[in-house]
């Protein structure tokens, strides 16, 4: 066995895994605050990437401004969806909300295809592309930099959750809405905050993913793998999303190289099945107790 090759493949997988982790964190933030499993996450990510494409390639804005606008647009999308569609369904059967997010995903795909057509495109480059070596192993520069950026962003968010007032409010709401409300936390504002933050994270992940793999209206498929990631990690665990993101990225990359490209997603979904059968609450999730 060629260990150097194995190492390189693993690094590439971890690089991709960081994007899973980043999107997974967005997923978990929404789930923790509003108990919604958001199947439109992949499409929100796609929308962010297309916004960047529109600003940078369509309006010819400078790259940094396009990035800022795309992130703001992603946040705005999250806020809008929460306010218009998710809030009115508050307290409804979780399955209805789940199906509404499937509908939203479809709407976003349609919207993107109407505005930008279904043809795949490549994003204007904004990551450095000097080759990177770790020891003897080569890492694709875009993968390397997106790993670093994703890592920094996740670290910043972890600090925000821990120390920032809004982050504390978010965690309080996640653990007990009623108690949080009684302590003067504006719970509806926390709902908005969580969707806004998640929208922004998703847009950021979309930028990074788009710069590595290009953008297309089928990019939302990424969201399904992220769904696997958060289920494996535990729906309400940020740590779980990080660990499972890297793990799934790594396994997918190994499966893709050693078994063949078509096995990539098969392996992910088999992992999902196994986790659902053995440990449905995930590696780090809270086990739900059903009360009558």
């Amino acid at each position: 066995m060629d260990w150097l090759f194995f190492f390189e493949v693993s690094l590439a997988g971890l690089g991709f895994g960081a994007l899973y982790a980043l999107t997974g964190v967005a997923f978990v933030v929404i789930y923790k605050a509003t108990r919604v499993i958001n199947l439109a996450m992949g499409e929100m990510l796609m929308f962010g990437a297309y916004l960047f494409f529109g600003f940078a390639a369509g309006f010819m804005l400078p790259v940094w401004l396009a990035i800022v606008l795309a992130l703001a647009g992603g946040a705005l999308l999250g806020l809008t969806l929460e306010r218009l569609v998710i809030r009115p369904l508050l307290g409804e059967n979780p399955i209805s909300v789940f199906m509404v997010t499937i509908g939203l995903a479809s709407v976003l795909v349609g919207l993107v295809e109407i505005i930008w057509t279904a043809a795949p495109r490549s994003l204007p480059g904004f990551l450095p592309d000097d080759p990177i070596f770790i020891g003897d192993a080569f890492v694709a520069p875009k993968t390397f930099w997106s790993f670093i950026i994703a890592g920094v962003v996740i670290a910043v968010f972890l600090v925000l959750f821990r120390f920032w007032r809004g982050g504390v409010a978010l965690r309080a709401t996640a653990s007990d809405q009623g108690a949080a409300y009684a302590m003067g936390i504006n719970v509806p504002a926390v709902y908005s905050l969580s969707w806004g933050l998640a929208g922004m994270l998703a847009a950021g992940a979309g930028l990074l993913l788009g710069s590595i793999a290009g953008i297309s209206s089928e990019m939302g498929f990424f969201g399904l793998t992220v769904l696997v990631v958060v289920i494996v990690g535990g729906l309400d665990s940020v740590l779980g999303a990080l660990v499972a993101g890297l793990l799934i990225g790594w396994i997918e990359s190994l499966a893709g190289v050693y078994l063949g490209g078509e096995y990539e997603h098969l392996v992910t979904f088999i992992i999902l099945m196994v986790v659902l059968l053995l440990r449905p609450w995930g590696l780090f999730g809270t086990r739900e107790i059903e009360r009558l």
Partner: protein
């Protein structure tokens, strides 16, 4: 206003059609189904055949999701299993088509039970996600089990023949698919007058209470999966015969979402809902196509907009119905009926 419908037995009170008026309407419906092919052109017959296939599959999904409360996003993949069974039998064994269809139903039932196994362990959203996984695994099998499915090249299927009649285009196929659809709908409606159907409803309303009442949860959940996938298998078999060729692309996850949308739009947990939903969702794209034809002279490249607009309209229908009319078209229908039942008293 409805008057004069006394019942002397419980059986009469629970029967499918309770009044003579309902029987008359049912007769009129059957009669119009018989007369329809003599009045419609090929295009409209094609649409009705397609609607019937979708009704069968949507009814199956409604039994599973609407009545038993087990959300499934695997209905299209199950249809694929049925279609591939028919295709394989058609190409490798010269069995009559009725046998092929029944075999499609049987094979899909087995696959459905296997895919339903996670329902013993997880429920609700987790189950929905497990069925997404099952649908991807089936998709993988369709693409990579080359010796049976011929991979991405797809398989061609000869049209079925019975008593020397070849059902190779919509005007003959109509006589095959419509009666089967009617029978399967009646079977589905009758299911909910039996212990099994009521057990399904009890599981949907509260699974723990149902099990306290002595309903064997694993057994009935798997039974619901089995029935739903049997319907999907029959629908898939018809699909294969109707189009004459299938490939893995024929049964994407999007089609499962289509069926889910159909039963949401039609009305979860009603047989009428499956019918209305399947009709509505099959006709909507046709209506959009008509709209695009109208716009063609005015809008640049209108036909390129068709597919994205369709995707978006599907999404908007799901969101809109869940937000504003969660009980679907069936509820609107009930409202209309109630208006006539209460007519002179309430207006």
């Amino acid at each position: 206003m409805r008057i004069g419908s006394p019942k002397e037995t419980y059986a009469a009170d629970e029967s499918l059609f309770r009044t003579r008026t309902q029987w008359v309407w049912f007769g009129i419906l059957l009669l119009s189904l018989v007369l329809y092919p003599f009045m419609a052109n090929l295009y409209w017959l094609y649409l009705v055949c397609l609607i019937c296939i979708n009704i069968i599959s949507a009814t199956g999904l409604n039994i599973l999701t609407g009545y038993t409360g087990q959300v499934s996003l695997g209905q299209a993949a199950f249809m694929g299993v049925g279609a591939y069974t028919v295709a394989w039998l058609d190409n490798n064994a010269s069995t009559p088509f009725i046998m092929n269809l029944l075999a499609a139903g049987a094979v899909t039932t087995v696959v459905g039970i296997i895919a339903g196994l996670p329902s013993l362990r997880v429920k609700g959203l987790y189950l929905a996600i497990a069925t997404i996984a099952a649908s991807f695994i089936l998709q993988f099998i369709f693409i990579n089990w080359e010796s049976v499915t011929r991979g991405t090249r797809g398989i061609n299927i000869e049209p079925p023949t019975l008593f020397g009649v070849e059902f190779d285009n919509p005007d003959t196929f109509y006589w095959l698919v419509v009666p089967v659809t009617v029978v399967m709908l009646i079977l589905a409606a009758n299911l909910f007058r039996t212990r099994v159907g009521r057990a399904f409803i009890a599981i949907r309303d509260r699974d723990i209470s149902a099990s306290v009442l002595g309903i064997n949860l694993p057994l009935y959940k798997l039974m619901s999966f089995a029935i739903a996938s049997f319907y999907a298998g029959i629908a898939g078999g018809f699909y294969a015969y109707f189009y004459g060729s299938i490939n893995p692309e024929s049964f994407p996850l999007l089609l499962s979402i289509f069926f889910l949308a159909a039963i949401i739009v039609g009305g979860l947990g009603t047989i009428l809902g499956s019918i209305l939903g399947a009709v509505f969702m099959t006709l909507t794209p046709e209506l959009l196509r008509y709209g695009v034809d109208v716009l063609e002279p005015f809008v640049h490249d209108a036909s390129a907009l068709l597919s994205p607009v369709r995707t978006m309209v599907f999404g908007l229908l799901i969101v809109g119905f869940l937000l504003f009319e969660p009980h679907g078209l069936a509820e609107i229908w009930r409202r209309i009926r109630r208006f006539f039942h209460l007519w002179p008293f309430r207006n």
